[in-house]
Amino acid sequence: MTVAQAKPKDLPVGANLPFIYREYSAERLKQALHKMYLIRQFEEGAEESYMRGLIHGTMHLSIGQEASAMGICMPLTNDDQITSTHRGHGHCIAKGAEVSRMFAEFFGKTTGYCGGLGGSMHIADVSTGNLGANGIVGGGIPIAVGAALTAKRLKSDRVVISFFGDGANNEGAFHEALNMASLWKLPVIFVCENNGYGMSTSMARSTAVPNVADRAAAYSMPGVIVDGNVLSDVAEASHEAVRRARAGEGPTLIESKTYRYRGHSKSDRNRYRTKEEIEDWMTNRDPIVRYENELMEFGIIDKAGVEAIREAVAKEIADGIEFAKASPSPEIRDLERYVYTETV
């Protein structure tokens, strides 16, 4: 089963076109740009609200990594599932969540996806297949394997994506999970978003192999490396992995090489990397700019079209924040609700 359409008529033809231009309609391609902007502006909005004291705690922003979240989710249906990470806002939006309810969660309100109990680090939308971000590095990886076991046992056509960072590949859970997934040929796809660092620790200083994808060999599954800032490349790798998974051929490990612009969290002094490195990624490899230019080059969208998307997104963000502000806070008397399942 695939949600992608056959080669659309409204696009330039040619075998050399990047994957997504052969696979998707102009409408879906524009939607992808819309969502990438939505992710970026959502996080900018969250960051600003945090600075203004409207959001407490901490948060991990994925600004600069939007193509990775979006590209992986493009071939997924609403029935497919993901497990996400502490840097999970992009995954949540790409999978289909509403930004208003995400803001409400960050503001600690009852209308939030977790009723104000989870916050940024536990953002989830089970209704669109997001089983949740995670406060534990690597915590979601075996859970995705479990969800894939369910999919296989119930013979649903579902695939499960496990997002995680480069840092997570050194946790035992990663290795144990990959082994079982491969052993049992489960419909799960391991997506390592390698942004170069786990907090302050570079891949070179933490990991004995140069690429996380190299680990795939040890678990007898394909290991694929893609430029995580090129939407089409990410989507293409995801398509093939999803095809394999649905066909019962087992898991794939995709390493999506990307970069985070912001500090690790709100307490980062950026001492472990240079300004030049950050600026280079921001000015030369921004995933949104890159995709937008491509769309314009192929005549799929024009300047006015891009402007319309930006404006629509800005309004969605502003409305979302208003919704969050106006929403009620949970009551202290409900503190113990949800610790266990209520019995009637």
Partner: protein, 332 residues
Amino acid sequence: MDQAVRELSYAQAIQEAMAIAMETDERVFLMGEDIGVYGGAFQVTGDLVERFGADRVIDTPISELGGAGVAVGAAVTGLRPIFEFQFSDFATLAMEQIVNQAAKMRYMLGGAVSVPVVMRFPAGSGTGAAAQHSQSLEAWLGHVPGLKVIQPATPYDAKGMLLAAVADPDPVMIFEHKLLYKTKGPVPEGYYTVPIGKAAIRREGRDLTIVATSIMVHKALEAAKTLEAEGIDVEVVDLRTIRPMDKETVIESVKKTSRLLCVYEGVKTLGVGAEVSAMIAESEAFDFLDAPIVRLGGAETPIPYNPDLEKATVPQVPDILAAARSLAMGGR
């Protein structure tokens, strides 16, 4: 010997203790996630990597189980590791090495080795970090024979108890409440130790004993001030070590005041307060009690994200005031 006393924060006091330990003993080194250039998630190691180099301030990969095990192995074979967990919650990933290995190795080998490892755990709620970054798991480790478990409440104790932990031949687990890191207090320069296993009476009183741990010591002292104005004279005992527990100090205090309130942040049920209460119930102090023992602990829930709910999950000063008032009034 007079050592100059300065005001240091709790985090600075710990950092100073680690620096002194490394200066005076070549075997001492630090391991943990992002403790090098980053300076630690709570800036406790700070710039120590610049002073001692990356060979002695070692950034580990994100590998709690393996990292803790490496520290145990190094300790058994002659080094003195101080292992930092980024959050105490991640002790759950390393439980195997802590509980099955570090705690039992000496015993299982009939005394052939000892395990002089120190592990540091930033703990507690109050930072809006939600359910997986806010727990108080000290009672978990307190349940394991072979481990020593401490909870210093002041900068002075944080330094002195860490130095005592490094000198200790057995594994010592240090729970540091995150909200204490920025609190300040007098700390002498140079080397000194504060004994593990000894409680401290922070305030003497006649009417009621509050036994508190970690940040709750400060909340209890604040409550005691208010209660003094109301004519209730509170004695505050800072437990400092939960394994081995200082029975004598607690028992003597309760014999004097005849009333006991235990205040701790960990989940109330099966926690530190249960042990303190049982200790009194089993001792000669039981006959001195004028009212049932009262425990104030964490709510029976994970720590929620919403800030008001988060506050409501752990004892606050008004809760201590209310409990102390009714306890002082109740009984015979």
